[in-house]
Assembly symmetry: C2
Homo-oligomer: 329 residues x 2
């Protein structure tokens, strides 16, 4: 059996109360007693049971993180940053990969409640999930969920603008946008609106193709093919995701398009990974680290009761200019 406080107390010749006190460094204890207790703990290899502690304190220092999948570079990077921030502040991360399935998200949400997490950081595009009795502090990333849930986003409209203008600036005439599932309420919708606005302002007609699932690249190739068949004269493509952009670029090359001479391409997300292995790809860089930082800080503030107001924070994105949008004068 694992030793408990009582066992330590016996070995040290003191009461459990005293052991608990030295453990928590609370109240005044003679240094002799402290030493005895520490010695006893080493001797029997005592490890405190945080379950019991949490039960009493009603505080687990556990944060639930719900994302579609750590497999996608953006979420891998985001989760990495969130975990780091949490760890720095003494919180632990319960990871939930929802695969964007509403049913799974619902189950995870319930599981997190049962496990008494102190708060949740969630990336979801399904609004209906959160029941009105939602009890714990939560921060949603990139998507409004309900009036008592904070939102931390990057500026998706700005990103859409930056990307679209970049293509115009380098001389594209026929600019097409590729986005994800048209039925999903993702932040990529904002990117599309921005694209449409920029096109209108420039007197061009916007045209958007939607792939069924950004994450499952295989399922997207048909849409990409269709795009080129229907628009052989396309000379600029703004994809709402870097993986999609790369896939499109590959297909274009296989059709004989020269990049950037015949066709310019820009993606979205700009994770460190993609920028490192595909530096030539122009893209909009999301401030992943700041998103994570803001989300974790906002959450902990609410947990600690430091701040009452529900916050909405929007962070700026930036342009990574690679060869795929190099002006081909």
């Amino acid at each position: 059996m694992k030793p408990k406080i009582e066992d330590v107390a016996k070995v040290a010749g003191v009461s459990p109360t005293t052991v608990s006190r030295v453990l928590n460094d609370r109240g005044y204890i003679s240094s002799k007693t402290k030493e005895k207790v520490f010695a006893a703990m080493k001797e029997i290899n005592y490890v405190p049971n945080d379950l019991a502690r949490s039960l009493y304190n009603k505080r687990t220092y556990l944060i639930g993180v719900i994302v579609p999948s750590t497999n996608h570079p953006f979420f891998g990077e985001l989760v990495d940053s969130i975990e780091k921030m949490c760890n720095d502040r003494g919180y632990k991360v319960l990871l939930c990969n929802s695969l964007q399935e509403a049913e799974k998200e619902k189950k995870y949400w319930d599981m997190l409640r049962r496990n008494q997490v102190d708060g949740v950081i969630v990336v979801t595009y399904n609004r209906g999930l959160i029941d009105k009795n939602q009890q714990f502090p939560a921060v949603a990333i990139d998507h409004y969920l309900s009036e008592n849930i904070h939102v931390v986003s990057s500026d998706n409209f700005q990103g859409g603008e930056l990307a679209s203008k970049e293509l115009l600036d380098v001389g594209c005439k026929n600019i097409i946008h590729i986005n994800g599932d048209v039925n999903l309420e993702t932040p990529a919708n904002e990117r599309q609106y921005a694209y449409e606005k920029v096109m209108h302002d420039a007197g061009r007609k916007p045209l958007t193709y939607h792939v069924p699932n950004v994450a499952y690249l295989e399922s997207n190739i048909d849409v990409i093919k269709q795009l080129f068949q229907e628009n052989p004269d396309v000379d600029g493509i703004f994809a709402s995701d870097d993986l999609l952009a790369i896939r499109t670029l590959q297909h274009a090359k296989s059709l004989g398009y020269r990049i950037p001479e015949d066709l310019k391409i820009i993606g979205y997300d700009g994770t460190g990974l993609i920028r490192s292995i595909y530096p030539e790809l122009s893209t909009i860089v999301q401030p992943t680290y700041q998103i994570a930082e803001n989300a974790v800080e906002t959450l902990i503030e609410e947990i600690d009761g430091t701040s009452q107001e529900i916050k909405e924070k929007t962070l700026s994105v930036s342009l990574w200019k690679g060869k795929t949008t190099r002006a081909s004068s």
Copy 2:
């Protein structure tokens, strides 16, 4: 205050014992009582407290997962698979990104003990971590840790052989290997041994360059530069990691090497992500899904006490043949 079992009991007009019984579906309860209890739970929006449950049952259904970082595609994919497997079997994942720092790993390990996780899946290259009193079931991935910890690996020697032979097969004469930190006991060491064996068997002299940190790509460029300066006649490179391979490929191109005509390159890991966005890169594909599956199953078997023996499982890898090792006859 959150409602507890006692509150449900009052509303339903039964004892807490009975509520607990319907909650756990244990013992015989009249269906009338059941209904009353369920109705009461809905009415006051009751959610069981798994902390209290776990405290009593000495079972948390929590699994700690320690990896260097979800930011690396291989670990992102691995964690994704592990989390999926765990979720399917009713376990939850406590995520720990150690960044390969021994100190952090140690802290995480202690934290997991305090949190009473049922078991741990760990990717670490530091052997000294695990104290002899290590209590809970654990599975190490790709690296032997101690006699009471299972190991699930892919066959790194086989992978090294496959990669090296592939380069020989397509006609390379001067084959150089790039590996990670020479001081780390990573599975990539096996890949290097295999490379050296294949070279010797072919009557060639092996030559390995070590980069300081596979994960931080920026820090590796100096070594890559050095490699080409010192061996301008290199015509085959086996990198122990796809990201490293891609970086090397980029640098080679910038120096004017044509791939694969002048120089052939093969990487390692072959994650779905890399294969999808860099299909031209030849690589050794690790069976990530099976690794995760085996690790989770082995761990749960030990947790359940179904199996006593400590297992060592080695899974086969396979070759993904892309253009970067196309024979240039």
